[in-house]
Structure formats: structure tokens, C-alpha cells
């Protein structure tokens, strides 16, 4: 699918960057004229993926998170969140609702479930010791001119 516009951001895996990351992606996505609900879905999913990279990918060691956001010609948004941290040993287990590898941190184990609920598709490419790439797709509804009443 043809890409009309894209941007890539790289930032250190600090928790204080989570808010900035989700707002930056949502601001860029605004070009597709999403509804407020779609924008909030995007923010939530990005927050989950970035938090996973920071907590599970890097943990104490730190590192960089890279997000590439592409606006495609079919009015869909593709968001790729990448870390080069620990990777996931058992992906099926990680995707199960309520499973968490860090109950000590009061993680709910709902991160991937939330991404899947709020986005149209979520795929995960991970290699233990090398990192994780989460690719999320969101179709943005096309609205008639002047049809912005739902906001």
C-alpha cells in the first residue's frame, strides 16, 4: 500500500516519555481526520506498546525506542514500535489476557489485549535477546465533508 506520509521518532526508554510518544503519534495521525474516539484508541495502543518496550524490553538497562508512523493511501495508519531489548520468550503466553511476567510491578497483563481491542490488527515480531517489533494498523473512518458532528 502506498505511503502518503510518515515520521520516525527515537527516544530513550524513560517512562516520562510515554505521554510524549502517544501524543506525538496522535498529532501526526490527525492528518487523516480521525474521530476523537479513534485518536484516543491510537493513544492508548501506543502507550501500551511503548510501556512494554520500556518495562519488558529494556527494564533497568535502558535503551532506545523507535516509533515509525505511516499514513497510507487507503486511509489507514500503521504504527511500528521497536525496541532492541530482551525480546519475548513465549509470545503466545505474553498475548494471553492477564498474563504478566512482572506481577511484582503490579502489571495487569492486559497490554496486548488492549492493543488488539483498540487497533484493527497487531502483529509482533520478537527474538529473545534481540528485541521486539510491534506493528499496529488502524483504519480511520472516512467522513463526509461537514460530517464532524460526532466530535
Amino acid at each position: 500500500m502506498e505511503v502518503n506520509n510518515y515520521f520516525t521518532m527515537t527516544f530513550p526508554a524513560y517512562s516520562r516519555n510515554e505521554s510524549f510518544a502517544r501524543v506525538a503519534v496522535a498529532s501526526f495521525a490527525a492528518q487523516l481526520d480521525p474521530t476523537l474516539e479513534e485518536l484516543n484508541d491510537i493513544k492508548t495502543a501506543v502507550s501500551e506498546a511503548v510501556t512494554n518496550a520500556i518495562i519488558h524490553g529494556y527494564g533497568e538497562q535502558g535503551g532506545e525506542v523507535v516509533i515509525t508512523t505511516s499514513l497510507r493511501a487507503d486511509n489507514t495508519l500503521e504504527i511500528i514500535v521497536k525496541d532492541t531489548g530482551a525480546g519475548i520468550d513465549d509470545l503466545d503466553q505474553a498475548r494471553e489476557p492477564l498474563y504478566t511476567s512482572r506481577p511484582d510491578l503490579e502489571r495487569s497483563g492486559m497490554g496486548f489485549t488492549v492493543m488488539e481491542e483498540f487497533m484493527d490488527s497487531v502483529s509482533i515480531d520478537t527474538k529473545p535477546g534481540q528485541g521486539t517489533v510491534v506493528t499496529m494498523i488502524k483504519e480511520i473512518s472516512v467522513r463526509e465533508p461537514g460530517g464532524h458532528g460526532e466530535d
Binding site: L36, K43, S47, T51, E106, R107, S108, M110, E117
Partner: protein, 114 residues
């Protein structure tokens, strides 16, 4: 940014959370609520989320943690004032089955028999 205010109605702790509740701010909310629970007077908790514009599954984790603490003495946790995005998260994750969502404070207080 997140802002927490605490108030009491008898032995009910009313926690007002404004701003954004994510992994970065979750630890602060946990500490704020635990500081009250330590006093030994809190029976139930009401969450005022009217000013909460964002929450993700990290927020879920910190609320579930406090829900479990309250469960030790059969205490209950209720919430009101949810904005649509927070309400959606509650609904899709089933959190609303553990922390019932009410339209306003009066409704929460009535549910707790006040």
C-alpha cells in the same frame, strides 16, 4: 501529568484523579492511596475520574492492586465521572465488573449505603 486529591466521607476514601494515568504516574497513585490505607480507617474507596483524560493498562494494574487490598476486609471500590476513553477501557477489559461505574458521587454513596 497527574494530580491526586483525597477526601473522606466517614470511612469512605474519595480519590480524585485528574490528568493522565499511565505507567509513569501509576506508582504515585499507588503511594497516595496506600498512605491512606495504612491509617487503618478506610473501608471503601470511591474514585472520582471526572478529570481523568487518559488511562491505559498500567492504570488498570494499580487499581486492581488496591482492589485486592480492599478485598482483605471485603471493602469495595466504585468509580464515577468516567470520560468515554476511560469508560471504554473499563468495559473492554472487564474492570467494570470489579469496580462498578456510577454516574455520580451520590450514586456511589448510595450504593455504599450512605
Amino acid at each position: 501529568m497527574m494530580k491526586v486529591n483525597k477526601d473522606y466521607s466517614g470511612n469512605i476514601l474519595i480519590v480524585q484523579v485528574a490528568g493522565e494515568l499511565d505507567h509513569h504516574s501509576a506508582a504515585e497513585l499507588k503511594a497516595e492511596i496506600q498512605a491512606e490505607l495504612k491509617k487503618g480507617v478506610v473501608r471503601n474507596i470511591i474514585l472520582n475520574f471526572a478529570g481523568l483524560s487518559f488511562m491505559d493498562s498500567s492504570g488498570l494494574g494499580v487499581l486492581l492492586g488496591r482492589y485486592k487490598e480492599l478485598s482483605q476486609w471485603q471493602g469495595r471500590m466504585l468509580a464515577f465521572g468516567l470520560q468515554p476513553t476511560v469508560e471504554k477501557l473499563f468495559r473492554l477489559t472487564g474492570l467494570n465488573r470489579l469496580i462498578p461505574v456510577h454516574p455520580n458521587l451520590d450514586s456511589c454513596l448510595r450504593a455504599l449505603g450512605v
